[in-house]
């Protein structure tokens, strides 16, 4: 009997897992099926540059990114029945599985904040986490003649937690280039108590915002948007006016996760943080943004954790103990404008620290420091993404975080 592995979602994690496992599981014994609601794969990191006129090589047909021997089914998942081991699609199809991987990511949900969706959505209220949103925002920025631009995060966790900061830096540089910086007031509104979650990176990034004369409004948990008055209202009744609002709406896992009893209050799948195995059902795993791992929701995490998952999965189906442990490794480039960027590298236990990456003293990239090399690193990532990464080939960056090249800022650095 053929064994059936079904992967829900063919984004970063689903694609990497399908391609890696297709090479490791015999074609005679295993059928691998990927289900996704969209035909095209979207390169999400590229969305950041779209509002500022960036290149548009963002979409590729999913079929071409999956190895031969991986079946692709286009359809939207409505529910999973872990008892019967089947997946139901909205068009009525039912697909049976022996093992299930949930890789349906997380999506912006403007419908979850009162007043956000309405006649002002994509007029004075924008997002850049979606394809249509990023292009609508491009128009809005082109036509912006000055006033108060508010960049806003509804709630953590969000995918790519640095993206709203990057957007803010790029917007500042954009208005400077257009010689209208003095007509624009920039405000960054966050539910956190600083620019970022972890203290050292928060200090570095906070300083950069400060230098660029960007006001930061912290501990702001939005209750509703008053779109008519163009005001954000918080639960503790603070108000922030805007002329143009760029928000990162609440991010939530797919509805079917919650509806199938496999999710938490945000529809993320509770998993063991080292093996990615669902706490509710041992034959279900969740990779990428779809799970509740206490690390960043980022493509890098999707990629590193997939490598660990694949090794464990092969052990699991062979009936032996899973011996590989994911450490929460994440690394993210942070664009800071003017052709520069910085880089952060961290895991469950170690917050982002300054230093060099990936090779100790040699770099060539610098951690938590603005350099041109980091900016080029970010741009080069597009090629790496479409080619070796999605194909499931090994990259020179290890899935386990390394302390080599890192130092605590208060520690002395020896030459």
């Amino acid at each position: 009997m053929m064994k059936r592995l079904v992967i829900l979602g063919g984004g970063t994690a689903g694609t990497v897992v399908a391609n890696k496992l297709r090479r490791r599981l015999s074609l005679d014994e295993w059928r691998i099926t990927v289900i996704d609601r969209q035909r095209d794969h979207l390169y999400q990191p590229g969305l950041l540059f779209v509002p500022f006129g960036g290149r548009e090589d963002l979409l590729r047909p999913r079929r071409r990114l999956l190895r031969n021997g991986v079946q692709l089914l286009i359809g939207e998942v409505a529910s999973v029945d872990p008892e019967r081991k089947s997946v139901r699609l909205f068009d009525g199809d039912v697909v049976g599985y022996d093992y299930l991987v949930i890789a349906t990511g997380t999506s912006p949900r403007p419908d979850q904040t009162p007043g956000m969706l309405g006649p002002q959505w994509r007029r004075s209220i924008h997002d850049f986490y979606t394809y249509d949103g990023a292009f609508a925002l491009r128009e809005a920025l082109q036509g912006f003649t000055g006033g108060r631009l508010v960049v806003h995060v509804v709630e953590q966790p969000i995918k790519c937690p640095v993206a709203p900061l990057e957007f803010t830096f790029l917007a500042e540089a954009f208005f400077r280039r257009r010689e209208m910086r003095d007509q624009v007031e920039l405000v960054y509104v966050t539910p956190l108590d600083g620019a970022f979650t972890k203290p050292i990176a928060s200090r570095y990034l906070g300083r950069l915002l400060d230098e660029r004369k960007i006001t930061v409004e912290t501990d702001f948990l939005v209750e509703r948007v008053d779109a008519e008055r163009k005001t954000l209202v918080s639960y503790d009744e603070r108000e922030i006016d805007y002329d143009l609002l760029v928000t990162v709406p609440l991010n939530m896992g797919a509805d079917f996760v919650g509806a199938s009893g496999l999710g938490d209050e945000l529809n993320y799948v509770p998993v063991d943080k080292h093996t990615l195995q669902s706490k509710a059902n041992p034959d279900i795993f969740a990779v990428g943004d779809a799970n509740d791992l206490p690390t960043s929701k980022a493509g890098s995490v999707a990629h590193f954790s997939s490598e660990v998952f694949v090794e464990n999965f092969l052990q699991y189906v062979a009936g032996v103990a899973m011996t590989h442990r994911f450490d929460g490794h994440a690394n993210c480039f942070v664009e800071t404008g003017d052709g520069k960027g910085l880089l952060i590298d961290f895991n469950y236990d170690t917050e982002p620290l300054p230093g060099r990456f990936p090779l100790g003293r040699l770099g060539p990239l610098s951690l938590l420091r603005e350099t041109k090399a980091n900016h080029w690193g970010k741009l080069a990532f597009r090629w790496i993404y479409w080619h070796p990464l999605l194909r499931g080939r090994r990259l020179p960056v290890p899935s386990r975080m390394s302390m080599s090249g890192k130092h605590r800022p208060d520690e002395e650095v020896r030459p």
Binding site: P157, P191, L192, T197, D219, Y235, D264, P270, T295, A330
Partner: protein, 97 residues
């Protein structure tokens, strides 16, 4: 007050060192007098932590314990997530990375 282990910001680091009485003292320190409504939130946080492995977020408290976020702001003014964790003797909510 009996001695307990706390981190640099005063959050308890040992789950088992917490008592009802201590909660009252911690609350008093940040100017809160505990009512039944406060206790409902604190008890939920205490019960949730061992199963979940993380301090519950405001959304989690509001969804699973049925206390609206607005009310949490009224009960624990300013920074409810942090204040609740402090009184419940749990780590400061990480706010994720």
């Amino acid at each position: 007050m009996t001695t307990v282990h706390v981190d640099a910001e005063g959050f308890l680091t040992e789950y088992d060192e917490w008592t009802d009485e201590l909660a009252g003292q911690l609350a008093a320190r940040i100017g809160i007098e505990l009512t039944d409504e406060h206790w409902k939130a604190i008890r939920f946080l205490r019960a949730d932590y061992p199963t979940h492995g993380e301090t519950a977020t405001l959304r989690r408290v509001s969804t699973l314990a049925g206390i609206p976020v607005k009310q949490l702001f009224a009960l624990f003014p300013g920074k409810p997530a942090k204040k609740m964790a402090y009184i419940a003797g749990l780590p400061k909510p990480r706010g994720c990375v």
